[in-house]
């Protein structure tokens, strides 16, 4: 069977006013809103102690870092000094049309903190990309036998 399956997720967007933007953790596009229950990413947070969650539900405190989205604590996948990955809480009220919510990334003690924002709407699909630096944006797709078809060395030649 010619069958692919992959992981899809929410998204994100940008504008002024806040210095930092929350982006979709798969597509890394700043031109779209993110959605509740979607995996997102935030940039540099030098105070983070690198850590990766290994339990479910995801912890709301990881590597000494906590994230509040519109005041709601977010489950955190991983933290490093260059990226914090977390899930937009379902409790954030998403609207049909995107609305901006403040996002606070802070240490457990509450300081220092960084305030960013996330533009959130109820639906915002995105395809997880294996390599955001690749201009062709290869999808995180698998064959039906769970094998992965790597990008051919010669563009436009199937492998």
């Amino acid at each position: 069977m010619n069958c692919l399956h992959w992981l899809g997720l929410g998204l994100s967007l940008a504008t002024a006013s806040y210095a930092q933007v929350i982006v979709n953790a798969g597509a890394f596009e700043e031109s779209r809103p993110v959605a509740p229950n979607s995996l997102v990413a935030f940039g540099e947070f030098a105070e983070a102690t690198p850590a990766t969650a290994n339990t479910l539900p995801l912890p709301v405190l990881l590597g000494g870092v906590e994230v509040l989205v519109g005041g709601e604590p977010a489950g955190i996948y991983s933290v490093s000094k260059t990226q914090v990955n977390f899930v937009i809480p379902a409790a954030v009220p998403a609207l049909r049309y995107a609305k901006r919510f403040p996002v606070v990334i802070r240490t457990n003690g509450g300081s220092p903190a960084v305030t960013a924002y996330a533009l959130i709407q109820d639906v915002s699909p995105a395809i997880l990309v294996r390599d955001a630096g690749d201009a062709l944006r290869p999808a995180a797709a698998f064959n039906s036998d769970l094998s992965q078809r790597a990008r051919p060395s010669q563009p436009d030649q199937g492998n």
Binding site: L11, N37, Y77, V123, I127, Q157
Partner: protein, 73 residues
């Protein structure tokens, strides 16, 4: 789950290969991975395009996704 409750899905997403829609076989939360969804889709027959780099997009509840690439043979 801190990632939140599973949202209701109005109807399955449609995955497009170029402009050809694939048959969505499964759309569900990815097991053990909050914030991610798993979509299974059958690759459609694509007239005049049978192999090579193929752009894909997802249309879900009237909203388009980003464009990514899969390689088809």
């Amino acid at each position: 789950m801190n990632g939140g409750a599973v949202p209701e899905i109005p109807k399955p997403p449609t995955v497009y290969f170029h402009s050809w829609p694939g048959e969505t076989i499964l759309s569900s939360p990815a097991p053990g991975q909050p914030g991610l969804w798993l979509v299974k889709v059958r690759v459609p027959q694509m007239t005049n395009h049978s192999s090579g780099a193929t752009p894909i997009t997802v249309l879900f509840d009237g909203v388009n996704s980003n464009t990514a690439t899969v390689w088809v043979q």
